[in-house]
């Protein structure tokens, strides 16, 4: 009896071992280290720290510094505004594309599915470079074309650049989110559609009464992914930064933390900013899930 239980236990750890080791090494430890760094600072003596630097505990000072930095606070505000626009747009677009591909009358489904998904295969940095060319005056054919019609297009201005970034992100991820939803659509039992057809349901009724309720879990999942992804906006603005004077070094929270860590060499402040961003992302993701949960219970 005991030996079987021990053996089972051993097997459990044997199977879980590789996962746990990687999880501890790549998630838990770095997270703990970041938390540790965020409450410490380097104390020095002399003009060049000739006395040698020592790491000292400073409590929440780095957090206070981050939250009193108007650049960082406005970067949080900026990604929240971005998320408010981007998340619904992304989800509606992805869902609409998925439903269109799933419609009985759709033609060339495989081709379009691949075409929509293709941008996801382009790394974010490359995508931003490509779009950067289309946004740059003097190089962009789009801007030249606008001029023909008397339009002064400015994709990189203070008012527009955030939405130019949104365009890149949607171009890149709408197809991916669509695919997640398509997968769920495919798993719907086809008998339901047949029954609906016999009952005389229109295609619109099939969508609202059958498809949408049944793909709700996939929509929730892609929404959470999109919330987290938009708050962590980084590569796109970083690549566009040299092209636009509207993008500051702390344009998004991730850029602010990156700048603190790798330009200013202030790892402690960078850690504090990262932790704050993670907290905001957690709050919004779980807040959304809770909201959905309450609706479903009601």
């Amino acid at each position: 009896m005991t030996s079987t239980r021990t053996r089972t236990r051993l097997a459990v750890f044997g199977f879980l071992g590789p996962f746990l080791a990687l999880f501890l090494a790549t998630i838990v430890f770095p997270l703990g280290y970041a938390l540790f760094q965020s409450v410490t600072a380097t104390a020095r003596s002399g003009a060049f720290g000739e006395g040698g630097g020592t790491t000292v505990f400073v409590g929440l000072r780095n957090y206070a510094a981050a939250l009193s930095d108007p650049g960082f606070v406005s970067s949080l505000g900026r990604v929240l505004l971005f998320a408010v626009v981007q998340v619904p747009l992304m989800i509606v677009l992805a869902t609409a594309l998925a439903l269109m591909l799933d419609a009985a009358s759709a033609r060339g489904v495989k081709l379009f599915r691949s075409a929509y998904f293709l941008p996801y295969g382009v790394p974010g940095v490359i995508a931003s470079l490509l779009w950067g060319f289309l946004y740059t005056p003097g190089i962009s054919p789009v801007i030249d074309l606008g001029k023909v019609f008397g339009l002064q297009l400015d994709f990189l201005g203070a008012e527009t650049v955030l939405w130019s970034i949104a365009n890149i992100v949607i171009w890149q991820y709408a197809g991916y989110n669509m695919l997640v939803i398509v997968a769920q659509l495919k798993s719907i039992d086809r008998d339901l559609f047949e029954a609906a057809a016999i009952d005389g349901a229109s295609s619109w009724q099939v969508i609202t009464r059958i498809k949408l309720p049944l793909i709700a879990p996939a929509i929730v999942l892609t929404t959470v992914f999109t919330i987290i992804g938009t708050l962590q906006l980084f590569a796109e603005p970083l690549v566009l930064k040299p092209l636009s004077s509207a993008i500051t070094s702390s344009y998004t929270p991730n850029m602010a933390a990156y700048n603190q860590a790798f330009t200013n060499n202030n790892y402690s402040l960078a850690a504090a900013e990262s932790v704050l961003l993670a907290l905001v992302a957690c709050a919004f993701s779980f807040g959304f899930l809770k909201l959905i949960g309450r609706r479903q219970n009601a």
Binding site: G138, A246, N265, Y267
Partner: protein
């Protein structure tokens, strides 16, 4: 076949370097692997440096330098070195380091004292002020390579066709900006680069500002001085009048505007000519260089320095001696300097380079003008050599960049950006655990 061999070699080299790093950088590990040949890794982004390294490698079979072409320092290379220094492995033996970044590396204990490794003996062959920019606490931490004495690059053909005389003062420069923009609304005299505060710092330097100093062990910050504010107000005025472009420099749009003649001048450094030549080759022959416009038409001629860098040996290298030997050769050997001058690396830090190197000759791109002799030699002599940097210069630049960008986007002015940089710089120094105060 060749490729495969190269791949194998690079894998072996990587493995060897990895072992060297793991073994705590003991000198034996590299020596035993290379069979008496010392291998040095050198990170640099200077044009032409590859040819100088090739020359060294062919002349010195015992010390082989592996050049790794990196992005410009502030575009990621410094970050990589800082991270490598912090983690204790992965840093190269030597690197290109700009003057303004030296104090930052010293703060992280990242640089090797080069005095005993040869610099004490040869420091007189380098420009005095560049030696002093490389010396902290009486210790020489870098081999000066080049500086960037400033001059005014301008399109002589466009200036001539509009009947504009070469501006000798900043007032005349503003008038020229007006004439140019009035004649053609899509033309501007130059761009105020919102993301390149080093350019603004150089203009403040010319106006007589002295942003940073050291008083005992307390750093002094004087960014919002009258001289700097004067420069900021001047450019605010041109910006508000719509007489300058405000697009980023060193970016595609700017290159395109240089190419199509919409930007017709550039107050820049001696190395700027190669940048224009490389990115607007079709404008060859139309550019000339004039001395920097002056704030005070009657006073002594004042110039400034923009950019400039050193070769520094990084702490943790097992081959500091060989690295120092190479660094000194790279920046003082006439043949090496010739190769670097050809690439457009800047104004040589080695004394008498104008007389003894390829520097002294007419340039076809400038319509046959010998700008180095006519303009930059005098400019180099007129640089205020008391200017110094702080360990957090990058943070100051960031705040200025953000402030300038905000002003261009309609929030505040360049003057506001300067004032914000003053307080932010003191805070950045204190955040590093250093002492700082306002004033000179």
């Amino acid at each position: 076949m060749r490729l495969r061999q190269a791949a194998i070699v690079s894998v072996v080299v990587a493995a060897v370097l990895g072992t060297a790093a793991c073994s705590g950088g003991s000198p034996e590990s590299t020596d035993s692997a290379g069979g008496g040949v010392t291998e040095l890794t050198f990170w640099s982004w200077v044009p032409g440096v590859d040819k100088a390294v090739d020359l060294w490698n062919s002349e010195n079979p015992d010390i082989q330098v592996n050049l790794e072409a990196t992005p410009a320092g502030s575009s990621g290379t410094y970050a990589k070195i800082y991270a490598a220094l912090k983690s204790g492995n992965g840093a190269p033996d030597l690197s290109q380091v700009e003057y303004q970044e030296l104090p930052g590396f010293i703060l992280e204990n990242g640089l090797v004292d080069l005095g005993p490794l040869g610099m004490d003996d040869v420091k007189d062959t380098f420009s005095d002020w560049q030696i002093s920019q490389s010396t902290f606490n009486d210790t020489i931490y870098a081999v000066p390579q080049a500086s960037g004495p400033m001059g005014l690059y301008y399109r002589a053909d466009i200036f001539d066709s509009l009947g504009i005389a070469t501006p000798t003062t900043w007032d005349e420069y503003a008038a020229a900006a007006q004439t140019i923009h009035d004649a053609n609304p899509s033309q501007y005299i130059n761009t105020f680069p919102p993301q390149n505060s080093a350019w603004f710092a150089a203009l403040a330097w010319q106006a007589g500002a002295n942003w940073f100093g050291l008083d005992g062990d307390t750093w002094t910050v004087d960014i919002d001085s009258a001289e700097t504010l004067k420069v900021a107000e001047y450019w605010d005025g041109l910006r508000e009048a719509g007489l300058i472009a405000t697009i980023p420099d060193f970016a595609n749009e700017w290159y395109s505007e240089l190419q199509n003649g919409n930007i017709v001048a550039w107050p820049s450094a001696q190395w700027g000519g190669e940048i224009i030549a490389g990115n607007a080759p079709d404008t060859a022959g139309n550019w000339r260089v004039a001395p920097m416009p002056q704030w005070d038409a009657t006073g002594d001629f004042a110039s400034a320095n923009w950019g400039g860098s050193t070769t520094a040996v990084l702490n943790g290298t097992p081959n500091a001696e060989a690295a120092a030997e190479f660094a000194i050769w790279l920046n003082s050997d006439p043949e090496s300097i010739n190769l670097l001058v050809e690439g457009g690396y800047g104004w040589p830090a080695a004394k008498d380079a104008l007389a003894s190197t390829a520097l002294n000759q007419p340039d076809d791109f400038l319509g046959g003008q010998n700008a180095n002799q006519e303009v930059f030699a005098e400019s180099d002599a007129a640089v205020d050599v008391d200017w110094g940097w702080i360990p957090t210069t990058a943070a100051t630049y960031t705040v200025l960049n953000d402030g300038f960008s905000a002003a261009i986007a309609g929030n505040g002015t360049f003057v506001d950006a300067v004032k914000a940089a003053q307080s932010a710089t003191i805070k950045a120094l204190e955040d590093k655990g250093l002492k700082a105060r306002a004033g000179q």
